[in-house]
Symmetry: C2
């Protein structure tokens, strides 16, 4: 139940992205039952190709903890992290990852690459997928607006 | 020959990382024959798990060009980009990637994952590997210092 609660907080972030015309992806990072960072995709606004929700949330969490090691942290994302974000999750040693929607075009967790479950990688977070119809709907509405 | 010249500029960045006690990786990004950004690994100094040389160079190049699209750009790195950095190269649409040393533990180009050559990905940069003994030596010296 707690996972669903935090995933819904990530969804609120995704809704902000949507309202700014960004691909609607949101993320929050939780440690000891509290949200320590929250972010939404800001790639267009910042013109920064790395400014995905997950990367921004990871960087903010590291600032908060003053450590690149996000030990004991869970990252919630509305969408399956891409290869870049999955790689960042490894780099940051995030302990758990919870997401809602698979991304068949860019996904780096289950779709294109399986970066978080590869046995050769020195860190393997627990991965949980929780379907969240609102996250799917948000993406659908966004791409419908783009290609009417 | 031009590739070797720019790879040596990346090596100068890696040497800076070494002198600051960071894993010695350096990167430069070149457009129209000129270096538009240069960076070295600053993960420990910034306590930012995403502060790899390639990510910092990509973000700086995007700032310079005021665009997340690094069209026509070549990224030179002393070491094979990890999954995170290879993913960022895709996100930024970097056109060419030149690197010197394979990374069997984290490499996302030829070692663990083949993110830059996967046919399902919507962008595939040209990848060139140029052996550079100095880059290997620098890494070797660094890890010898760590584990004497």
């Amino acid at each position: 139940m707690e996972d669903l609660l935090f995933l819904n907080e990530a969804l609120k972030e995704a809704e902000k992205a949507f309202s700014y015309g960004e691909v609607p992806v949101g993320a929050v990072i939780v440690k000891d039952g509290r949200i320590i960072s929250r972010a939404f995709n800001r790639k267009e606004f910042l013109q920064d190709p790395t400014a995905h929700a997950e990367i921004l949330a990871i960087r903010e969490a590291s600032r908060k903890l003053n450590s690149w090691r996000l030990t004991g942290c869970t990252l919630y994302s509305t969408v399956e992290p891409c290869a870049m974000c999955a790689g960042a999750i490894i780099q940051a040693r995030v302990e758990r990852v919870v997401y809602a929607v698979a991304d068949p075009k860019f996904g780096g967790v289950e779709s294109l690459f399986k970066i978080l479950s590869d046995r050769r990688v020195n860190h393997r977070p627990e991965v949980v997928k929780i379907e969240l119809e609102e996250a799917v709907e948000l993406l659908r509405s966004f791409f419908k607006l783009l290609r009417p």
